[in-house]
Every structure is written in C-alpha cells, then in structure tokens.
C-alpha cells in the first residue's frame, strides 16, 4: 500500500513543478515584451512609438495597413512634418501632414493646421467643435520611418476580434502541451 502512495506523490510533484516552470517561463516572456515596449517609449519620447495607418487619407504615400515609426523631440513643429495627433474626445490617432504653422514669439506656443495628402480639404472638420488649430499637446509624435503591409495583422485582429481569441487560445494550447 505504501508504494501506491509513493507513486501518486511523485506524479503529483512532477506535475506541479512542471506547471510552475511553464507559468514562470510564460511570465518571463510577457514581462520582457513589456520591458522592450517601455524602453521603446522612452527612447522615442512618445506614448506609442509605432502606429498603424488606418485610413487612405495619406495615399499614395501611406496605405492602410502600413506601420509608422514615431519620434518626438523638443524641437518645434514645422510645416511639412507628418504628425500623429489625437483630437480631444476621440482616441483614434490621425496621421496627417502639417501645412500651416504659426509660432508665438517667446512662449514657443504653436498653432498647427494639418491636412491629409489625399484629402481635398484641411482637417478643420476633424478637430473638436470651435477648435481651429492643433497645439503641441495634441501631437503624439512625428513619423520618421515606415514599413509597408506589416500593420494588417493589427487591423485584422481589431476588426475581427474572433481571430484574436483564436490566436491567443492556440498559443495558450501550444504552451501548455509542449514538453519543455
């Protein structure tokens, strides 16, 4: 009777140790991804160092599904720069080009008007009611580089969330069932 108890114990202990190791490995992977993301945020100076282009308003330069690398420095905003901004009250970032810049003497305060390259009119219709200019605190970053097509993964996952759940479920299954 003693050896049955022993075998059961040994089986239980292996399972628990293996489970714990796998949980820790998963935790390490998630944490290192988070560390990399936060470091990127520090280096580029913006809240979101990478954005996906969601609309066709900057075609043919940026098509839907491209990703843009952003950078924000203390240097003043100048006309021609491609800026990513949030309008008060909406949380989808917009990527357009600054076409008019008025900078105040001394304070460095700027008024910026933007327009998408493929749009016929400027962005006044997109700003909040009664707002005619963008200010520095609206602007999240300047686009400095880009990669085509890579952003489609994000667009598909956000527009058809079922795919996101399937992917995460499959990944979870893979982690649990892998022998190491």
């Amino acid at each position: 009777m003693g050896w049955i108890g022993e075998t059961v114990d040994s089986i239980k202990s292996i399972k628990i140790r293996q489970l714990l190791t796998q949980a820790i490995t998963l935790g390490m992977i998630v944490t290192s991804a988070l560390i990399i993301w936060k470091c990127l945020m520090c280096v580029t100076g913006t809240e979101s160092p990478v954005v996906v282009v969601l609309s066709g308003s900057m075609e043919p330069g940026f098509k839907r599904g491209d990703i843009l690398f952003l950078h924000m420095t203390k240097e003043p905003i100048r006309a021609g720069e491609i800026v990513v901004f949030n309008v008060d009250g909406r949380d989808i970032p917009i990527v357009h080009r600054a076409i008019k810049v008025h900078e105040r003497e001394n304070t460095g305060h700027v008024d910026v008007l933007t327009k998408g390259d493929n749009n016929d009119v400027d962005d006044i219709g997109l700003y909040a009611d009664g707002q005619f200019w963008l200010h520095r605190h609206h602007i999240m970053g300047r686009a400095v580089g880009f990669l085509p097509y890579v952003g489609w993964v994000t667009i598909i996952m956000s527009e058809k969330p079922i795919i996101k759940y399937i992917l995460i479920g499959a990944l979870g299954l893979l982690v649990i069932t892998s022998k190491d």
Partner: protein
C-alpha cells in the same frame, strides 16, 4: 524536434528576421545617393491683398514654380511630396509657415517640372500684418521610401515682398 510545428516556427522566425534585415539595408542604401535638387520661384502677380470680414489678412497670388528634383529619386523611393511655403515673421509670431501649393511626384519623369498656378491653399495671417511684409518662399520636399527612414529637406528663397496697401 522535427515536427511540423517546430519547422514552421523556425521558418517564420527566420523569414521575418531576414525581411527586417533587408528593409534596414534598403533604407541604409539611401544614405549613399548623391542629391542636388534645384528650384526657382517667381511671383507672377499678387492678385488680392485684403482684410477678411473677421480681421485677418489674406493674400491671393500667382506663382511660377520650376524645379528639378530628379536626383532625389533612388530605387527605394516611392514618391516625393513637394510643397511651397511662405515663411515670414511678425511682431506677434516668431515664425509663420503657410503652405501655398503642393504636389505628389510619383516617379523620376515627373520630377522636373514648371508650373504656373495660383495658390492652392489660402494664405491667411493671424492678424493684419501682411502689408509690406517681406517673406521667403521655401520649396520643401519629403522623400517617402518604399521602406525605411523618410527624409526631408528644403531650399529657401528669400526676398519676396507684399504690396504696402490693400488691393
């Protein structure tokens, strides 16, 4: 170790890394291109200089713009976005930049051009500081690559001025 899952995973990781590396090299190769663009702008006519009903000055003008931006195109260039901006200083604002006209140049053939046009976007000041104002006309360009780092530069042409009275 030789299951389909492992092989697919290894293949995917390798191809993504290789693609990222190739994109970086393509972007890096842009540093070696020799670029000497040239441009010239003439103001053909100042059509109107007026004061709007709610106080700001507005100018309408006709420009003659000729430019040769062919040397900016490399094999990694998707398009060049060029625009002409009027830049001036007033007592209230240390810098004003107003874009007057822009164009998207999709390839090298279209990069050498001469065009006469009135300003595409309205030249409106914050205030009424435009009478007798001297300003620069700057041709900016923005090279958008097929992949990688974008670069922007400009040619500043100083010495233009607006009439002393409303017309």
């Amino acid at each position: 170790m030789h299951s389909f899952g492992y092989r697919a995973n290894a293949l995917l990781t390798f191809s993504v890394t290789a693609l990222a590396f190739i994109c970086a090299i393509a972007s890096f190769s842009d540093k070696f291109s020799n670029q000497n663009p040239s441009a010239e702008i003439q103001i053909l006519n100042i059509n109107r200089l007026k004061k709007q009903s709610y106080g700001n000055d507005e100018v309408s003008l006709t420009l003659d713009i000729s430019a040769d931006l062919q040397s900016l195109f490399t094999w990694n260039t998707k398009q060049v976005f060029a625009f002409v901006a009027a830049e001036y200083e007033t007592s209230k604002n240390s810098l004003n930049q107003v874009s007057l006209w822009d164009v998207i140049i999709p390839d090298k053939e279209h990069a050498k051009f001469r065009i006469q046009t009135s300003n595409k976007y309205r030249f409106i000041d914050q205030g009424h500081n435009l009478r007798g104002r001297e300003f620069n006309l700057t041709l900016h360009w923005h090279v958008m690559p097929k992949t990688g780092k974008m670069l922007a530069d400009k040619i500043v042409m100083p010495g233009y001025s607006l009439p002393d009275a409303y017309k």
